[in-house]
């Protein structure tokens, strides 16, 4: 705080604090709080709600009819009868509108009964999808690590300095293409009539339903998020003093022991960061499962959340689902940090 004041002066410091305050409150705290609040009360979309919305609809119809009648009456030649009819219709319309407003206010602000119901109503089917999503994300993370560690090590320690830039470019270029396009590419490869099955067919084997089996999501996801594993690991391995690797070798360590005792412990913070990013992105991915499953394979949990929000129009349960996923992800981070014995500070490094 003092150092901030010293380097920026009072005016700029105030601006910085104000802006970050607005950002934290407006973009992080407030939306989260609203969603948390929603998740803790249950909105009944059953018969009562349906009756209510039907009644409102009927009333709107009535009002419209009455307005037609009133317009008809106003078109008649002037007479006391006509005036009486207009007045009567006007009164009925007003009454109906008042009724609509009352019912609508009921519909907009339903009676809130706070409970954990949103968190407990998840059925077996959804729960299995939740578990499957977590396990699949874990598997994506593990595969990404297994693929990335050798690459990161090779680039950081084995590649001649001049080539590193080219390899890095090679790694980054595919990622400058829109994520959706990259996923569609996989769709074209793994489709039932896709490239992979074309070559499989050439060998005289029956086509394999990659997408239907769920393999497609998996493959596309590993591909989509693998770079988030490469770079943190590369960055930490790169800082390892090459002399340490040589010293270990000189002291008689075979290759795998050099990695186990020297390189991996050094790269731990990078691996943790990579694993957290890959896991969070996989568990929270929507586009990849949306495109790759398309209803022919079991959905990802994020798709269920989407459906709750925008198809069942049930934000309360949707919020509860979303928080369940968030809590699982945060738990994963802590388990990982404990497992790797790394602190927040090391990760932030």
């Amino acid at each position: 705080m003092n150092s901030l004041l010293r380097s920026f002066g009072p005016l700029l410091t105030a601006v910085i604090l104000l802006l970050s305050g607005v950002w934290i409150l407006g973009m992080i705290v407030a939306p989260q709080l609203i969603m948390v609040e929603k998740s803790f009360w249950y909105m009944d979309l059953g018969s009562d709600a349906v009756t209510l919305s039907n009644r409102i609809n009927n009333l709107y119809n009535d009002v419209d009819l009455l307005r037609f009648d009133k317009a008809d009456a106003e078109a008649l030649p002037a007479s006391p009868e006509r005036d009486g009819k207009i007045a009567e219709l006007g009164a009925r319309i007003e009454a109906q509108v008042a009724e609509i407003e009352k019912l609508e206010s009921q519909e907009i602000a339903p009676k809130k009964v706070y409970s954990l119901r949103n968190y407990t109503i998840m059925g077996t089917a959804h729960f299995m999808i939740f578990i499957k999503t977590i396990l699949a994300s874990l598997a994506v993370t593990v595969i990404a690590f297994v693929v990335c560690y050798p690459i990161a090590y090779a680039v950081a320690k084995l590649a001649p300095p001049g080539k590193v830039a080219i390899i890095m470019l090679g790694l980054i270029v595919p990622y400058s293409i829109n994520e959706l396009l990259r996923i569609f590419a996989w769709l074209m490869i793994l489709n039932y009539n896709g490239v992979a099955n074309f070559f499989i067919g050439l060998m005289g084997i029956d086509p394999v339903p990659f997408l239907e089996s769920g393999t497609g999501v998996f493959v596309a996801m590993v591909y989509a998020y693998i770079l988030f594993m490469v770079f943190p690991i590369y960055n930490t391995v790169e800082t390892l003093d090459t002399n340490q690797i040589e010293a270990a070798r000189d002291l008689g360590a075979p290759a795998w022991k050099i990695h186990w005792r020297i390189v991996l412990p050094h790269a731990k913070p990078g691996i943790a960061v990579g694993a957290i990013m890959t896991f969070m992105l996989s568990a929270g991915s929507y586009a990849v499962p949306y495109i790759m499953t398309r209803g022919i394979a079991p959905p990802w949990f994020t798709q269920l959340i989407y459906n709750k929000f925008f198809e069942s129009a049930n934000w309360n349960t949707g919020a509860a689902y979303a928080f369940t996923l968030l809590i699982a992800c945060i738990a994963f981070i802590f388990v990982l940090m404990r497992l790797f014995r790394v602190g927040i500070k090391e990760i932030a490094r």
Partner: protein, 362 residues
């Protein structure tokens, strides 16, 4: 005596078009303290990597204890390397660092811990065993690196300027300690350094290298007293150098004519009359002429300045564009009162002439 000898037979190293080490024969005896001395970029570290196995020679053979090391990796050689930056493992406590080599040899944990503590006793660090390397002082880390290398019981210990990061006092202390460990263990030490003082102080023998070529291999005294080339003479210790031409030969001596007069000096290479030559005189072999004596090799000079270096006094004199240095032991009134102009002199036996050649950069 566990040391083994190291023999390089016609070894050369090429990196692409660049020749790091020209074809070289070198014999390092078992259980000696051998230094390879040279300026940076002379190929001395390449030599070390050849012996340790991190580098295969482009031609020739490396033998350790009569065994050909071709195709034998660093982890299979009877050598241990101490790196310039020590390369201790920062995430392991000191004792695990020391025990690392044993761990790699699948010693059970209890045994290797006991052995690590024994070695830490040897370097007086038993009480620091559980600390991380980062918590130790520079000298302590140095000793951990030595203990770690000794743990694998090498026959040849290779040291890559391990003292360069220490301050002077500690460096002098560690010199004595390393020499002591070498004597106690009988391991062959191959020590790489660009610090000629370090090499002279510790070694039994020295190889002086320049541009991938070994110029001279000899005992420390002989390298100092009888350098093989002008480069060795100017790189190892200091020298007053006068350029000139041989005008006369006189048995084992030669008389060199220079712009500052003619001088008679040893002529070990037997330079002929007319040869372009250089005269070398060590500063401590020069003296101020007193009284009425008239030594044969003398120069009239003017006094420039006096630098006190503790045990020594360095006096500097000028003659035209040439500066002479004289080192005196700081005893009595040594060099405290120096007249403006005076004569300095040296004995023919304390000086030598060599064919003119490249000198070490000052």
């Amino acid at each position: 005596m566990r040391g083994k000898d190291v023999v390089l037979q016609n070894v050369s190293v090429m990196f692409g078009d660049f020749t790091a080490v020209h074809p070289t024969d070198l014999q390092i005896n078992a259980s000696e303290f051998f230094s390879i001395l040279g300026p940076s970029g002379c190929g001395k570290t390449t030599m070390l990597r050849l012996v340790s196995g991190f580098l295969e020679p482009s031609s020739g053979r490396v033998l350790i204890g009569d065994e050909d090391m071709a195709g034998v990796g660093p982890h299979k050689r009877p050598t241990a390397l101490i790196f310039q930056n020590l390369a201790l493992f920062p995430l392991m406590p000191v004792w695990e660092n020391v025990a690392f080599g044993l761990e790699m040899r699948d010693w059970p944990k209890d045994k290797r811990r006991d052995r690590a503590y024994e070695l830490l006793d040897l370097v007086a660090l038993r009480d620091q065993a559980k600390k991380l390397p980062a918590d130790l002082s520079g000298g302590q880390r140095q000793r951990v690196a030595v203990a770690r290398a000794l743990a694998v019981e090498p026959s040849v210990l290779l040291l890559d300027e391990p003292l360069s990061a220490l301050d002077l006092k500690l460096r002098q202390h560690m010199r004595a300690e390393l020499k002591d460990i070498q004597r106690k263990t009988g391991i062959t030490f191959v020590y790489i350094t660009h610090d000629q003082g370090e090499a002279l102080a510790m070694s039994d023998r020295i190889a002086v290298m320049k541009d991938g070529v070994i110029l001279q291999v000899d005992t420390t005294d002989r390298v100092y007293d009888d350098p093989a080339t002008p480069f060795v003479a100017s790189f190892v210790g200091e020298n007053n150098i006068i350029r000139g031409e041989i005008e006369r030969r006189d048995g084992g001596y030669g008389v060199i004519a220079t712009a500052h007069g003619s001088f008679r000096a040893r002529n070990p290479r037997g330079l002929g009359v007319g040869a372009k030559a250089m005269l070398f005189v060590r500063p401590e072999k020069m003296r101020i002429v007193t009284g009425s004596e008239a030594p044969e090799n003398r120069v009239r000079v003017s006094f420039l300045r006096r630098d006190l270096e503790g045990p020594f006094v360095n006096l500097f004199f000028q003659k035209d564009d040439l500066v002479f240095a004289i080192h005196l032991t700081n005893a009595g009134e040594a060099g405290r009162e120096v007249p403006e102009t005076l004569e300095i002199a040296f004995e023919p036996d304390d000086s030598m002439v060599m064919e003119a050649g490249e000198l070490a950069d000052e």
